[in-house]
Each structure stands twice: as C-alpha cells, then as structure tokens.
Symmetry: C2
Subunit: 265 residues, 2 copies
C-alpha cells in the first residue's frame, strides 16, 4: 500500500509535527500502532485535578487492539488499552463515569524507542535516531467482564509473549476487581521518526582539518534483555522456552532495528 493510500489519523494543529515535519512526521495507523505495541513503557499525561498547573504524568503499560475485531491488523483503527489500579489517581478520575456531555478523561500518551546516538562534526548537529508516537484520546474504564479479561491477557503478553497461558489463570474474582483497565478512544496521533547518519553543514564538511580529527557516525542503541534470574521461590529447573525464545527474538529485533535506523533496510 502506498503512503498516500494508507489509513491515517486526522492532522490537527495539536498533533502536527512542525520541526522536520516533512521527512520525519507520520500519521498513518500502521507506523503509530507499531511503535506503541513494541514499546515496554508508555508515558501517560492528563490534566491534574484542582486546577493544579502541572499535568499529571505516569509511566504505564498498554497496547493497541480492537475488541470488536480481534484480528484487526495494525493498519485498522485500534483502541489503546492501559493497565492500572483502582487506587491510583488516574483510575479514580477515569472511573467517574462520563456524562452525556463528556467523552471520558483526556489523555496524552507517548511511546518512544531510542535507536541511536547521532554524533556529528558540531554539537548542534548531534541528535538521536528514534521512533516516537504521541496519541490523544478519551479514556473510560472497561466494565465488560469479557473485554476486561481479554485486555488483561493482552497486557500480560505485552510484557512477555505467551506469558498469560504459562501462569495461573484465570484471575480470581478479587484479582479481577482490584485490576482496572482503561480503554482510550484515540482521536488523533502522530509519529516522529529520525533515521540515518548525522547531517552536517556544508561549511563543516569542507573543513578537512576538522574532518580528519572528528569521528562522525551513529552508536546504535536498543533495549537489551539479559539472562533470566530465577526467584529464590522458583521451583522450575530450566528457564522455559517461551522466555528464552522471547529474550532471543527481542534482542535480535532490537539490534536489527537500531541498525536499520542507521543504514536502512
């Protein structure tokens, strides 16, 4: 599918990528949904209560999917599900059921992959390679028991593939009520992606003395998963395959993505 045909989020003033918007800004569903679903930690921001001038911000777990169309690919419209606890500030706000006039709690969600340090001839051209998505949407608590269970499975498997079916399931009634899931109806979003080598100014590139002594290039970066460490309470001798294969796969994908960010596919 060409870029112009790809389904996209609306481009509003608040989600338009201004600086370097032409090469780096993206609005298509697939780019944005993929960034969210491959990041371990999201940063969620929302207006603070009691007219406090500082927005609240919390690191959270989440994923994007469609409960009504569970096999929907990343190119389709998806909802964002967030995992939290009833006692937290966010969930308290989110659990006041929205009136007809309200659409839920307005949230801004950020998902960021750091792909490399970009080292240029001059301090000003130093940069990062990164894939970053910012989403805006209205959050309401998931009350349907089946949808909540489905979301809990997805969130557990978002920490580590196939983990849900390798634990004691289903959750007890107490576990179900003590966990809260927020569903975010995403209204707009954008991604910003920086790839490639440093882009220095022509004048500096003509300075052979400078170039002779200044190494330029990229240090690739990615999230590394180390050797699993068993709990003193663990009774399983061997680290199971669903864990070792996830660690192996994620390390390969992480390293590969960081290199693709520099050199291309």
């Amino acid at each position: 599918m060409s870029d112009s045909e790809a389904p996209t989020y609306p481009k509003l003033p608040r989600n338009t990528v201004n600086r370097y918007g032409k090469p780096r800004g993206k609005y298509d569903y697939e780019s944005i949904h993929k960034i969210v679903n491959t990041v371990q930690v999201l940063h969620v921001s929302f207006p603070a209560p009691n007219s406090d001038p500082f927005p609240a911000m919390i690191p959270m777990l989440g994923f994007m999917a469609s409960y009504s169309d569970q096999n929907a690919p990343l190119t389709e419209p998806l909802d964002l599900y967030l995992h939290g606890y009833i006692s937290s500030r966010l969930m308290k706000l989110g659990s006041t059921s929205p009136s007809d006039e309200e659409e839920g709690l307005p949230l801004t969600i950020a998902a960021t992959h750091l792909d490399g340090l970009v080292l240029a001839l001059t301090p000003n051209h130093h940069s990062y390679n990164y894939r970053s998505a910012i989403l805006h949407g209205y959050a309401t608590p998931v009350t349907d028991a089946d949808e909540k269970m489905w979301a809990m499975e997805k969130i557990t498997n978002g920490v580590l593939d196939h983990r849900w079916e390798n634990t004691r399931i289903p959750p007890t009634k107490t576990e179900m009520t003590s966990t809260q899931i927020l569903k975010v109806n995403v209204v707009d979003a954008s991604a910003k992606v920086r790839t490639g080598y440093p882009g220095d100014d022509r004048a500096d590139l003509k300075n052979e003395e400078l170039r002779a002594k200044t190494w330029i290039g990229v240090v690739p970066t990615f999230l590394k998963y180390g050797e699993p460490v068993a709990s003193p309470e663990n009774r399983v001798a061997k680290v199971p395959e669903h864990i070792t294969s996830y660690v192996k796969k994620e390390n390969e994908v992480g390293e590969k993505n960081a290199l693709i960010a520099v050199k291309g596919e």
Copy 2:
C-alpha cells in the same frame, strides 16, 4: 548520610507516591537527580494552548546541575536544563517572558529506567523493575550567553561523555541563536523505584503443582549501546577512545544496575 538526614523535595499531594508509596516512593535529591542524569530521553508535558483538553508532550534531552555552583553534587538543589528549538511549540510558549505574576511555563518531566520484567505465578503479580522520577517546575529560556554555552556543553556531553571537546567548538553565532535552552526551577519531585523478585500471594506459593510448572523470576533489561557505525562522510579510521570507552562503560553500568535491581548490591 542516613535517609532521614538527606535533603529532600517537599511532599505535596501532587507528587506523593500513593500506591506502594512506603517501599517505593523516594523524595531525596540524590535519588531523583541521579535518575534524571542517567536517562537518555526525558518526557516533558505541559498544558496545551487554547484550552485544548490534552496536555502537550514531547521527548526531550536534559540534565540537572547548578550554574551558580557548578561542582554541586547530586545531593544539592539543582536546576533542570532542557534542550529544544526556538521553532517548537514548547519553546514558543517558554519564550514569552514571564510577567511578575508568572513564574514561567509549568512543566511536568518524567525520567524512566526499565530494569527488568518481573514474572510471577499469576498475571496480576507481573510487574517491572524500574527507576522512575517525576518532576514539576517552572521553565524560562536561558538568556545569559555564558550560562547557555555551559548548558550546551553539558547537554552534548549528556549524549556521550567528552563529546563536546571532540567536536568543532565553540558554536557559531547562528548556532547559538538557533538553539534554545530552557531552565526549569524544580518545585517538587518524587521517584518511584521497584526492585527485587516477584511477590506472589501466599495461596499461590502453597500451590506446589502451580509452582512445579511456572517459572518465576526476573528478566533484567537495560539500554544497550552497539558497535559504532561510521558515517560515509567520516574520515577518521579508528573509533576514538572517548566513544569506545563510553560504550563499554555504559553497557557495564546498565547490566550491573539491572542485576542490582534484582539481587541487591
């Protein structure tokens, strides 16, 4: 210095860690400043213009230090410096010089290290090991030329140690004016730190059948720095020592921190 003597940020309703606040919440300068100064990317949130309900959020570079006391350790009061561009939305807002009644632009800043995946017997006890700091403060643009240059050096060396002195410095006049630095007067902050193994319920730990088939423990995680990739424009044959030693040191520190988070010092 004991915890009770350590200098701390004030504990206000907006920065008090509620859930698991007793074991995980921290308010001392050193813990918070150290998290900020060891993370590559900060997430910065601020109230959106034009009564937009969604807070704005931007990934940014920054560091904490004191310009008036440049050798101040992390245990002292420090300011947060952020790097941005005059053309961006944040900088536009930040550059409206505050009136006597205003203290600057209210910002919420998050710094998060992911230290590991915590795999428990039940989905509900799955968690992350992490070190996360949230700071609140008022931002104003740095106008003093010397302070700005000092901050630019610190920010460049925050990307990679000793990088500043290994590039073409000082920046030109144009480079100085096209770069903007925000100084944040931090008014309160907190950190939340999760360490250790999974904490399962007594009932599940008594279930020997469950324990016989469910591996529990932690998969350590850290930011990995890969082999530096030279730009096609690079003219330096060998990757210089300031880069190779940084890569080596950061990988060692990252792995060590992730293991300390599981097993302790």
